[in-house]
Symmetry: C2
Subunit: 393 residues, 2 copies
């Protein structure tokens, strides 16, 4: 085994090292390597929750004067911090699944009716595929499922209304060239909705510059906003008049408190709100955006790339000979923030690592062990110890 | 003005008086009479939020083993505490608007395709009407809007797929005979989706006994679970196999972590979950259910009826001569937990009451002043002082 000193030296040189102390330590001695599934809580969450309860107690319905704009204010902040999105294009609301439903329907309604296909790859995240199956069934469209993202892009043609792709694949950790894929799909006359769940907060996104029109994502992975925290949706300003979403709720209504007889969508991305947004959850997304602002998403990406590169280096040395294969792409610019290892008994290994409180990774059927290194809390020694633990099982 | 001593005496005899101390007092001296819009926070909310953050910090993804069932467990608890719903029929998730979208679509899909009408009254809560307009447009159905709830029931016939009605009207506070209306709509071969937002937690509901099939509601009014807290949906067990909702997300999938190629709904009401549920918000709904359990919804209803009766008595004495009319029904069994007063300058009066920190009511266009008396925190002296303040403006 290579010397642990190298990892210690890397930690000493880490410009983000101080951020680890901003997170509440776990009671478990296990190394947490599932930050791509659920990020750990920053200490600031407790103070913000208390402040929200105080605001709720003191101002009661009066607080809605401010809260009513919170989903868009936090959207703007998140957009600036890590989405490459100018103001007025991001709404924090609902779940990723519900936002995907809105975005895909908007994309379809924005297309010529002769385009009857919805395209997706079989290894796309399940909720995305299920939602597309539902939409295809409801709208009597054709659900086209292909073997890979590349095949999905190739499948986009004159019959395609929309395709959905994750910027970072949830299993392999592969990062796609969002700008290039978007351009190809648009060139085919189709729309693409990006799912950025596994990218946001760890890979700098440039949604405006990449000419993305629609994107959705969650906030409970690298953004650390808590289990099931509100998700977000991005709608490019230039397409906001053209793209309209189908969940017409009172928070998306132009003059909400007029309570008029007919739905008339509010201007801009506000029309993408539906029901009453969860305000306490949205406040935690605000905390998340503040943390990313402080650290800087470029610095986060740089550390993330070093962490994963180091993990691959150690995996090559310690795990490949033990039958593991690294299925995450080896080119740094083609991967996100997690490492995927495959072996037929990955499920048992995962269970053992958790049972023995060595490492908390996760398992994705049928044979993938995922190690998600949240850059603001993960040290190089954690990577060292985690790979060592996998080797020991 | 009648003597305030009578109000003091009523408070002394109030069996629920001790509950007021369980809520965080507001910093404002104004009497809070908007509990039907946003309930105030119980002290227990702070402890529960801290406990949730600790659980999140310590158990991280491991906590999902428990959290995955929380939306249904809390649904069961809420069902037993105040919905009259046996276990396995309530899911806490999403917003009321999104749950209404699910329920109305399920109702339509459960009907014969020849039924092409969606029926609603013009004074139904806006988000309900807007969502129905959207569904009618998407499905090329006929949106039938009539003048009142009674007309809506009368309008249900052989062409009706579904109607939507609030158990308690958000403006007038009128409480409908849920069992009788449900029976009439079912007799016409149509479905009815009940919106119980303004009833839940203050009017004992007996959804099972009343043969309700679909209901939705929020948790931030009389349940005090916080601004935009997760909503709920009720689907009667006998109809769960027949009624299926259109937002196919991974939390509604039968074997969620198999992540298989095809969506196959989970058994029972779990299939009504879509994306990842907001767990911290759901925990506050659990606190809400616990509070209702402790107080007992029958006792809450009894106090609520006394509060509103007292408010009407005072309004008759002090406000009618000043041009206000009481638009809430006068029969106790025909009203919910709030009092609606109408006068042409209601909006200005509402603003003055708030500006002078006398009372916090709310205004509903064009001329309604609502006084919502949350029975667990409102005293009879508050009612006395609130009506006196309205009279003084």
């Amino acid at each position: 085994m290579p010397p642990r000193d190298a990892a210690v030296a890397r930690d000493a040189a880490d410009p983000l090292a101080a951020f680890r102390a901003k997170f509440i330590p776990s009671a478990s001695p296990a190394i947490y390597s599932d930050g791509n599934s659920l990020g750990p809580p920053p200490f600031s969450v407790r103070a913000r929750l208390n402040a929200m309860v105080t605001e709720w107690a003191n101002d009661l319905t009066g607080a809605w004067e401010r809260w009513v704009d919170l989903p868009l204010q936090v959207g703007d902040r998140l957009g600036a911090a890590c989405l490459g999105a100018g103001a007025g294009q991001v709404a924090v609301c609902d779940s990723t699944s519900v936002n995907l439903f809105k975005a895909v329907n908007a994309a379809i309604d924005g297309c010529d009716a002769s385009r009857h296909e919805i395209v997706v790859a079989i290894d796309e995240f399940p909720t995305d595929r299920y939602m597309l199956q539902s939409i295809a069934a409801q709208r009597e469209m054709t659900y086209v499922v292909v073997g890979s993202a590349a095949e999905a892009v190739d499948a986009c043609g004159p019959s395609t209304a929309v395709m959905v792709l994750s910027a970072v694949n949830y299993r392999t950790g592969e990062l796609f060239d969002v700008a290039a894929v978007t351009a190809r799909v648009h060139a085919a006359g189709a729309e693409i909705v990006w799912d950025v769940c596994h990218a946001v907060g760890v890979v700098p996104l440039e949604l405006d510059a990449w000419d993305v029109r629609l994107a959705v994502g969650c906030t409970y992975k690298y953004l650390n906003a808590g289990p099931g925290a509100p998700a977000f949706v991005y709608v490019a300003r230039a397409h906001q008049d053209r793209l309209s979403q189908p969940l017409w709720g009172w928070f998306g209504q132009r003059d909400q408190f007029e309570m008029g007889p007919h739905y008339e969508p509010a201007e801009g991305v506000r029309a993408w709100l539906a029901g009453t947004p969860n305000i306490i959850g949205t406040a935690l997304v605000d905390e998340a955006a503040a943390m990313i602002e402080k650290a800087g998403v470029t610095a986060i990406r740089a550390k993330s790339q070093h962490l994963v590169a180091y993990a691959i280096e150690l995996a090559d040395e310690l795990l490949v000979s033990r039958g593991w294969s690294v299925i995450t792409p080896r080119e740094p610019q083609r991967r996100g923030g997690h490492l995927a290892l495959a072996r037929s008994d990955a499920q048992e290994v995962c269970a053992t690592l958790i049972d023995q409180a060595l490492v908390i990774p996760d398992f994705r059927a049928p044979d993938v062990l995922r190690l998600g290194f949240s850059p603001l809390v993960t040290r190089f020694v954690d990577v060292y110890d985690a790979i060592g633990a996998v080797a020991s099982v």
